[in-house]
């Protein structure tokens, strides 16, 4: 009786797959459990990285080297510093440009909050096209990012209420990054008046002269902080690291990654120990046939590896889907970023699979090596 399988190709790979197929439910449970564990960890880590990378790109597009803000604020968005400091900042050698920005979270139509950026006149963020001309925003006018527009179902021409103030959306703002696509833009003086923050801004974005050595950068930071004890200067990288959201998500991601990796190892170890226990006699027969202890153990390790690798691939898919869902949910909370999955992530996933297979196979291999051929055959 012929079978569909090619009869002269029975190798180690076929042997391993056949062994796994003999316990399909167990294999599926192991693979799915580990896939979910790995995928969940990947979602967490991927979410924090995506937010960070998106913010990084945003600041890079603005040529921001340093951020000046109020010291002692765990949430940078609540920073408030004097706008007048810009004159002192301009006098510091090495500074090429300064952008002042006021950021606030305002109530839209007595319903939910939105982020609003207030830029001084002369910036692209307060200019829009009116016919063929580029004009400045007037008092009471707003620009809206495309993401904010779709999330809040607002279009140019709409009149809205922000913290009881009336404003009209005159145009879209073509944001250079995903994050800014989710906010509204108005004149700095309008936002200052609305929030009773006259003469105050949240940040100064500082652009430095290109090619400055590290020593010069430190000198500039020192000069800025010497202007006032309430000032703190951070590089964009430090700022991103301090970002509460990304720090929290990153920290949580690491914890979840560690615990999920441990969980995966325990799952695969338990499943394989169970399998080895059930196959004691079978493995003893192989030993009696002349299979070395190492060869039999290698079989166990390879079976573990196949399960881990399959779980890793599936975990990658789960992680990617999870990441898309997480970022979509964050968008509804006003946190905008784009999914950034790189080759590095795939390498990490592969490394996790190898680690899980190696560590997860340790106990089953130990059991395999300690099978007494004689005893097992008597069972």
């Amino acid at each position: 009786m012929k079978r569909g399988v090619s009869v002269d190709r029975y190798g180690v790979a076929t042997l391993i797959v056949d062994n796994i197929k003999r316990r399909p439910l167990r294999a599926v449970i192991a693979v799915l459990s580990i896939a979910v564990a790995l995928g969940g960890a990947m979602t967490m880590v991927g979410t924090s990285e995506s937010i960070e990378r998106t913010l990084e790109k945003g600041y890079a597009s603005r040529r921001v080297d340093l951020m000046v803000m109020q010291a002692g604020k765990s949430n940078p968005m609540t920073s408030r510093i004097s706008e007048a400091l810009v004159d002192d900042l301009e006098r510091i050698e090495g500074i090429l440009g300064i952008q002042a920005l006021l950021v606030d979270s305002l109530l839209l139509e007595s319903d939910h909050s939105v982020f609003v950026y207030g830029w001084p006149p002369g910036y692209p963020e307060t200019r829009y096209r009116k016919g063929t001309d580029s004009v400045e925003l007037e008092h009471g006018q707003l620009l809206i990012g495309h993401t904010a527009s779709s999330l809040n179902q607002l279009m140019p021409g709409d009149e809205i209420e922000l913290n009881f103030g009336k404003y009209k959306i005159v145009d879209f703002f073509e944001a250079g990054n995903v994050f800014e696509s989710g906010v509204l833009f108005m004149r700095l003086d309008d936002l200052q008046k609305l929030t009773s923050s006259l003469g105050r801004v949240t940040f100064f974005f500082v652009e430095l002269e290109p090619g400055l050595k590290e020593q010069s950068r430190r000198r500039i930071i020192g000069d800025i902080e010497a202007l006032s004890p309430v000032l703190k200067v951070v590089t964009t990288e430090e700022f991103l690291n301090q970002n509460q959201l990304t720090a929290a998500v990153r920290g949580l991601g690491r914890v979840i990654l560690f615990t999920n990796a441990l969980l995966s190892i325990l799952i695969i170890s338990t499943i394989m120990v169970l399998t080895v226990s059930e196959r004691r006699k079978e493995l003893a027969i192989l030993r009696a046939m002349g299979w070395s202890a190492i060869r039999v153990s290698t079989l166990v390790i390879l079976e573990t590896s196949v399960l881990s690798a399959t779980a890793a691939v599936l975990g990658g898919v789960v992680g990617w889907v999870g990441l898309e869902i997480a970022l979509a949910h964050l968008q509804t909370m006003g946190i905008f970023s784009r999914s950034i999955l790189t080759v590095e992530h795939l390498l990490w996933l592969s490394a996790s699979a190898v680690a899980i297979a190696t560590l997860g196979a340790a106990l089953p291999v130990y059991y395999t090596l300690n099978i007494s051929v004689n005893e097992a055959l008597r069972e």
Binding site: V7, D8, R287, W291
Partner: protein, 219 residues
Amino acid sequence: MRPLVDLQNVCRTFGGVITALDDVSLSVSEGETIALLGPSGSGKSTLLSLIAGFETASSGTLTVAGKSIHDWHPDEFRLRIVGFLFQQFHLLEHLSAVRNVELSLFPTCRQPRQRFLKSRQLLEDVGLGERLLVQATDLSGGERQRVAFCRSIANQPRLLLADEPTGNLDRASSQRLLSTLSDHMLRHQSTLIVATHDDDVARICSRVIRLQDGKVVDS
């Protein structure tokens, strides 16, 4: 000529209380076919287990193929020196006849095709050419034992040990198996030690060693 198997004053006790083998000394030359006869509990299986390296003697010396059994690497020993045929066959039930034989060739033959061809040949030689792909559970007792026999000689061991090979077979299957064993021994001049209480088995052997209560009573 040095014997292939040489036991000197070998004892095997369990828990210091039960003596399975008591001061057993015997030699087996290359090419001999030895029947170990004796009732149940006489120590036949224990003796075979010791020679196969599945168990360790409590005292005495045991040399196989010129080396003490302790000096042999167990995996090399079971691959090149000794083949074992069990009463219970011990096939992998989820595999077909040819796969069971192929498995024993994994350590010595890297090419899957070669493994298959060799296994097929062995099975054809014992009349199982039409049963290659039949799963072990679907084979008769006699067929299973012939598959087990092919598996045990696939790597051409110098010594074949058989523990009650016809114990679970009907008379016709037993006769067939004995015929197979006999042909193989004649063709390959292999050494065979078979533990049995069946006189028909003893008849195909060149020498009979009787065991009683763990002692050799007649050699």
